[in-house]
């Protein structure tokens, strides 16, 4: 998935000059302070918003379809959960499957299995309004993960979860990435950032920092992360070169290998 020169303005610029490559098989973290544009960027990546300039593409096709509806290959785990209160937990999950043409009976079975992945199969018949925030978040995760989408965009997926459930969720997100999905997680949580393969930091609508794994030639799996610093935001306005293949290492110098998982945001953040 490529994000090229994306700018988004509503009265004022909310995102500016965003260039990203989000690779299949990787978990990518988007971090940044509140209002930095994480959710807006996820929405543009998922095709919910039309960028003012630039574009986001998946598999070569723009994600924006002109209606604000996501492409079928894209699944969301929304920050506000986006659950339908008239439906039970299982029905909320199975609706997503039925919308993709899965047979209703099979959809119900898969939904129950998806809820079981997050240890809430016993809540399957409850109305979602009766669930706690954490339980609703896990229903939303089950719904996002069960459809086997090519792109999974999760906005603060662990904000309501305890440590144990956070680990469970990260494990499930990792499984999605290992399945070959593009997994992007917007988060404030350093532990989530740490669990991701790549990390892009946003501030005031601009990418200010990113860390990516090094992809060594001849290795399929992500290798060591590569850190890139962008102290000068203006540099981001330069035209992005053609995206590198997923298996190639980024060419932009300087490249610093960091054997700790990720580089932390700068101290002044």
């Amino acid at each position: 998935m490529h994000v090229r020169g994306v700018r988004y303005e509503v009265d004022r610029p909310l995102l500016a000059d965003i260039d990203l490559v989000l690779r299949a098989g990787e978990m990518t973290a988007l971090s940044g302070p509140s209002g930095s544009g994480k959710t807006t960027l996820l929405s543009i990546v998922g095709g919910l918003l039309e960028p003012t300039a630039g574009e986001a593409t998946y598999d070569g096709a723009p994600t924006w379809r002109g209606t604000g509806d996501p492409r079928p290959e894209v699944a969301f785990v929304l920050q506000v959960y986006g659950l339908v209160p008239i439906l039970s937990a299982r029905e909320n999950v199975s609706v997503a499957l039925r919308a993709r043409g899965v047979d209703p009976v099979e959809a119900d079975e898969q939904a129950t299995a998806a809820l079981a992945r997050f240890h809430i199969a016993d809540l399957a018949d409850r109305q979602v309004e009766e669930l706690s925030g954490g339980q609703m978040q896990r229903v939303a995760l089950a719904r996002g993960l069960c459809v086997g989408a090519g792109v999974l965009l999760a906005d603060e997926p662990t904000s309501e979860l305890d440590e144990g459930n956070r680990a469970l969720v990260l494990g499930e997100l990792r499984r999605e990435a290992e399945r070959g999905a593009v997994v992007v997680v917007a988060t404030h949580d350093p532990a989530v950032v740490e669990a991701c393969d790549a990390h892009h930091a946003l501030d005031d609508g601009r990418l200010v920092d990113h860390t990516e794994p090094v992809h060594l030639p001849g290795h399929d799996a992500p290798a060591e992360p590569v850190e890139q610093s962008r102290p000068e935001p203006e540099r981001r306005r330069e035209p992005e070169p053609a995206p590198a293949p997923a298996a190639e290492a980024p060419a932009a110098p300087p490249v610093t290998l960091d054997h700790s998982a990720f580089r932390r945001p700068p101290a002044d953040r």
Binding site: T39, S43, I86, P104, V147
Partner: protein, 774 residues
Amino acid sequence: MTRDRARDLARTLRGAWSRRATLTPLLLLTTVVVAGVVAVLGFAEAAGTSGALAVPLLLLALVALPTTGRELAAARRGEVALARLRGLDGGALLVLMALEPLLVLALGGVLGTGLGLLVARVSAGAWLSDPAPPAPADALTGALLVVLVALVAVVVGMTAALREPLADQVAAVSRPRRTSLAAAFAQVLVVVGAAVAVYRSPVAGTGDEQAGPDLVVLAGPALVGLAVGAAALWLLRAVARLWVRRRGTRAGLGGFLAARRLTRASGAAGAVQVLVAAAVVAGVALTAALQVEQWTDRTARLQAGAPLRVDLETDAEPALELTRRLDPEGRWLMAAVLVPGEGSTVARRAFLDLSRHDAVLGDFHDDTAAAALASVVDELAPDDGSATGPVVGTEVSATVSGVSRRLTGRMRPVVVLSLRDLTGGTRQVRLRLEVGLDGGPATLSTPVRCGEGCEPVAVTLQRKPGDSELPWTLDSLVVGDQDLLERGWAPAEETRGDLPGGPVPVAGGLLAVSASTPLVAVPATAALSVPVLATRSAVWEGEPVVDSPGGADLAARVVGRVPGLPLVQADGLLADLPRVLLGSPPTVPVAEVMVLARADTPRRLLDEVLDETGGELRTLDQVRAQLSDDNGAAQARVYLLVAGSGLLVAFLVLLTAVSRERPAWLRDVAALRAVGLDVRRVRAAGRLETAGLVVVSVLAALLGTAAGVAWLLGDLALVRVPAHAVALRTSLDPLPVLLLALVVAVLVALVVGRGRRPSPERSRPAVLREEAAR
């Protein structure tokens, strides 16, 4: 201090303005309810009728307003939570919350009062012929009471929301509201109230009029509507739940989502209950208005007797003479007498010059209780040439003949005809004839004073002393152009041994048998009796008798029984006027003598009647208006006004509920679109949900209206049926019921359908993100 208060007031006004979307429906509801109540009370003052007709409207408002109060409190959840966190609680918190709705209610009260007084004035001017001068004291008191009751209802609705746990009030995600004990109790109360209203209805219908209308029965249609609406919604939810369980997994996604939404107690569904109740009240009111209008029209026709009526201060005979003189062809005018005897039903009697019935009345009574009159007029008023009634002529001729030849002796029959004239006086005409030896017929004529009509009362056949004892026959007895022998005659006395009781009626006439005594024949009883048409309530002890306009007892022959008759209405008798006037004493003083006339009677003719009699012309419209005023028939129209206000209230409640639900519904649509559902399928689900609500609300409205009409309408006392009037019979009329069902279907389809039509722009999945950003 004053500055502080001004600041508080300014803050309250600012708060109210910021919540104008929530407060506007409350303002409109208050305005409509107060306007309806004030209009009813104002009209009641002008018409002298009961103001209790506003009860159904108040009941609907009482159901709608607590919901509005709850929503008001819900709209201020954050503010309430903050106040509670700052230690404000109990009465102080309630006062803080109640201030805003109080301002709105006061404004609605003022607007509604003005509107209601205007409606009362216009309706009284339009529907009453003589409205009382406006005295709006009761109406203003009513408006004040409505505002206070509305405030209490809103505060009651708020209380439940205020008592919500603080943790829920500060939560970002709203929790489902379980049905509170009070709400469940209210539903039970509605069902019990409906049952009590139906049970009390027959009792109230026969109750004391002085005690006023029974409020529970008046509220009955609204209670029945609320109960039927609640039952229908419960059934809808049960069916939807069952459907989801049985077929939900195999059905299309649109149907599944629609059924799931219907299983939930959504605001729109709750508002449908109010709409059903309003439709039932409107259905009952519309049926009542139509049937009371019909009753008023038919009763006015019976009461008036004819399209035009001139009441006279005279006796019956001059009236009869007047009509025959001014209208000799009998095309326009008809004399009539009503004797409103109060002693018994049979003492109440009407007499019409029925020979003119077809020309003057025609089909005037065709759709009234006296419709059968037209078919028996011939029996009541035989033609002049028929065998009953008075005869008119100046000469009488008798023809006699022997039964055989005779050889010797003389045969000198004497025929004596006894007559009674119009004044009641009797006279006899004697004809002396002689039959030859061959027994051939002999005829003799002699003058008679019957130019104005006489009633034959007896025929005596006798023979002179020394004459032959052979029998002879009276072959004809003609007065004017009528042979009296065509009438039925019978011997005056019974035959005892060899003593004959009178002449023997034979095929050719009357046979004078061999007897030396005079043989007297009298008209047969059937021919003597006056044919009358009686109402079903008329009963006699013994043989039927009808009193003439002068009070003379006349043997009566009942030719039929009908539910109602002109002039006497539901109680009394009707007979032919000329027939009963013969020999009748002067008309009794209580009798109402009148001239009835066709609607298109030439003005010149009417002027002549008025000039000669000094009477007063009354049209059918005047009689109808008087009847309507005297018996409060306009109440049915006022009830219709109440029903219209109720429908408006229900429409506002439904519109408010759907509008208030719409943002949350759009969020749900956005969430469904975010997981891959396209707008088309969501639109289909919305259409199915709307169709479900339309079907249920229409069925409930039809059922409730049928129940309301069958069980309650007849006892709502919308009109005071006066003594002797034909009773108001209510029945289910398909036209108003179907009309109301159509109105309900259109309202639900428009309001809910519009509310469930997804706006592609406002239901974009991105709105969820924007909401989160807020």
